[in-house]
Symmetry: C2
Subunit: 258 residues, 2 copies
Amino acid sequence: MEKLTSIHNQHVKNWKKLQTKKYRRQTGTYLLDGWHLVNEAIQGGIHILQLVGTEEQLTAHPDLREDADDVYEVTEEVMQHITDTVTPQGIVAVVPLPNSHEVPDMDTLKGGWLFLDRVQDPGNVGTMIRTADAAGFTGVVVSQRSADIYSPKVVRSMQGSQFHVRLYEGDLSKWVNDFKQINAPVYGTQLNPQAKSFRDVNPGETFALIMGNEGQGMSEQLLKQTTDNLYIPMQGRAESLNVAVSAGILMFQLNKNL
Amino acid sequence: MEKLTSIHNQHVKNWKKLQTKKYRRQTGTYLLDGWHLVNEAIQGGIHILQLVGTEEQLTAHPDLREDADDVYEVTEEVMQHITDTVTPQGIVAVVPLPNSHEVPDMDTLKGGWLFLDRVQDPGNVGTMIRTADAAGFTGVVVSQRSADIYSPKVVRSMQGSQFHVRLYEGDLSKWVNDFKQINAPVYGTQLNPQAKSFRDVNPGETFALIMGNEGQGMSEQLLKQTTDNLYIPMQGRAESLNVAVSAGILMFQLNKNL
């Protein structure tokens, strides 16, 4: 086991660079920060390429070393440098970046799906993926120009839900067409004269819900493709709901038949 | 109209100090940052003590000056110093801090109420107040050791809902007792053997919902006082939902009779 004490060490520099999307793509890896995520990965049978811990954490959990290809001990200063958290727990793991660009077999789409159309806040993206998991959804598809699903902030907000739901990145317009081909409804979310109250729809076993950009909502093109558009009746004078709160309200209404 | 160009000016120092709870209490004022909040305050008939803007913003909206006791023009550097936002819009207003410690007349409690028990993240507190507004709730009561409801981050997340719902700070245990005296149910949120699915309760016109601390949940004492405890059935493997998402799901279920 190597001990690394300098932030100028090449390994340390590389772990730091995993905060960028470019380097995650180049290396096909991303970083899990903290015990909850590392344990979720081990329980999920995820291959751990590198395990990095402080002396305190590695000493307290000697068994962990068997779960990783390589183990590195670092100082707390180095750990602080690698992660973007204020008080790191002292354990991180480098794991393979899943291939989220493949196009799944249409026979495997059964269940609820969440489509995110250019949702930009990483906390919102992560929280919605976590909520989709809790609502028993099958998967989440994220459009281009959304927050990157394996960025540190999204990973922190997902809290391990990437190991429970299927995650894809892709062209939502194509996904909507695929759903329509198998007669699965796709619900948009935009208030317009034809929109239905979210309480008045009763989807079957396979459907998709689209949530749009925080400021601009869904794209016009996607709106035209949807089966129905849903709205949440607002009784107060608030003009809108936070997108992650809206998604939670809608998913826990639509999941009744899952 | 005074023009202020230095961050060492006493007015500027005082506005900056409004980021602290202590100074907000001492002066009985707080800060609204940005056009949306300033406009909401004006429409709501809120007395504007001081209006502070950049030259660009004050020139573009000359009518605004009539709505404020005092108007100050500041440089963009000064504006950046006063607010804690990354890209301020160039307009802030100092307004009176409402008295949130009074005990309301029990005859005026009709409607849905949200009680926040030591919720610490300002974004969560603000988002839940905004959601309560959208759900048509009457008011929100925040316990001690919660995020301060007039802190910049809570004010930003509330998006003006403090002008639409009644906001109180107080001892939740006393509030729960008051609700029980008028036979209004108080719902806790904690998974225990007696908890009910949130879909199985049907409150009347007056009720309260308690949301607890992000990590620890509700206090034991409050749990003992509740009429029922609710849970959201999780179908996936996520262990919990974000507290603001949970609150949204629950409020938009409980508000059906409001």
